[in-house]
Symmetry: C2
Subunit: 180 residues, 2 copies
């Protein structure tokens, strides 16, 4: 067991700059003085909202996830615009993807989806007292809204049927915080 | 709302090949016939284990996460070796990072940490009835084991003090599945 844990920057090589992520590889000094490389995927941050209607249904979205070659069920979510406040970004994504505007809106902390090399911080919110307007999807965004009873969502998270990490985190946090 | 959600492959450009991740950009056909690009970060998959001792303390690990420039508290976890069975990988990581060998070991499903463009699938296990042996850390791995009462870990997940997504998912799943 070591006392010091921190690693310090030596040098950087930029490898990729995309629309969603960029990637660089740093040389770092380890706590024992040795050198190592760290692969870092940069991401501008994301936000996800758990929307609950008056009957305690979750407004979930079914979306094709190209990386996994299938559709999965998630809560509404998206990438933050540069400089965007996470709370405002959550309301924007909720409206765009489901058409819902909440009366009650509260933060549920944030998660680091994969802190080993993925730089995303993802903020979680709970939205209740929903008024329904129309969806405003991006031109390259295709999804279907599914209303799922909250208890059924909790069950699907516990059985592993819900795979998406932010959805598991938000649903189980809400279950324990709200006791519904 | 559209009926079809799937996107089909048109062409690929490989952008980066590292030790932990690789990255490619695909052109895809969208459900409406238009073309779009998808940035895909490939990852060989990971495994995380929630270890509970006889007094219901979690054996958590404090680790420096270079991407975020700070130490965070997580459950023991790591990357799967190529072709490695997730259950075996979890036992390996648990032993390497904490020295613990469990009597009871059960799966708690898997999560997709960030399915929009990050290709990691992360398997979760619960380990109890621990016998302690010695740690076997990799030469470039530095971490400190902290025993934290299970209820305190649940509390820290709910307040947002625990940021790591796999730790939040595993701790809250165990809380609701075990009712401890």
């Amino acid at each position: 067991m070591c006392d010091r844990l921190d690693e310090t920057f030596i040098s950087r090589e930029d490898k990729f700059q995309g629309k969603i992520v960029s990637l660089h590889v740093d040389r770092v000094r380890l706590p024992n003085g040795a050198e190592a490389t760290r692969e870092v995927v940069d991401h501008g941050g994301g936000v996800a909202v758990l929307p609950l209607d008056k009957e305690n249904n979750v407004l979930a979205v079914r979306q094709y996830r190209y990386v996994f070659g299938k559709t999965i069920l998630e809560i509404p979510a998206g990438k933050l615009d540069p400089g965007e406040d996470p709370a405002a970004g959550g309301l924007r994504e909720l409206l765009e993807e489901t058409g819902a505007v909440p009366e009650i809106y509260q933060p549920m902390g944030h998660i680091l989806p994969s802190p080993g090399c993925y730089g995303e911080t993802l903020y979680l919110f709970l939205a209740r007292g929903l008024t329904m307007h129309s969806q405003h999807l991006d031109p390259d965004e295709f999804l279907q809204v599914e209303r799922v009873p909250f208890d059924e969502m909790v069950h699907r998270c516990l059985t592993g049927e819900i795979e998406d990490a932010k959805t598991v985190a938000a649903v189980l946090k809400a279950k324990l915080l709200l006791e519904i």
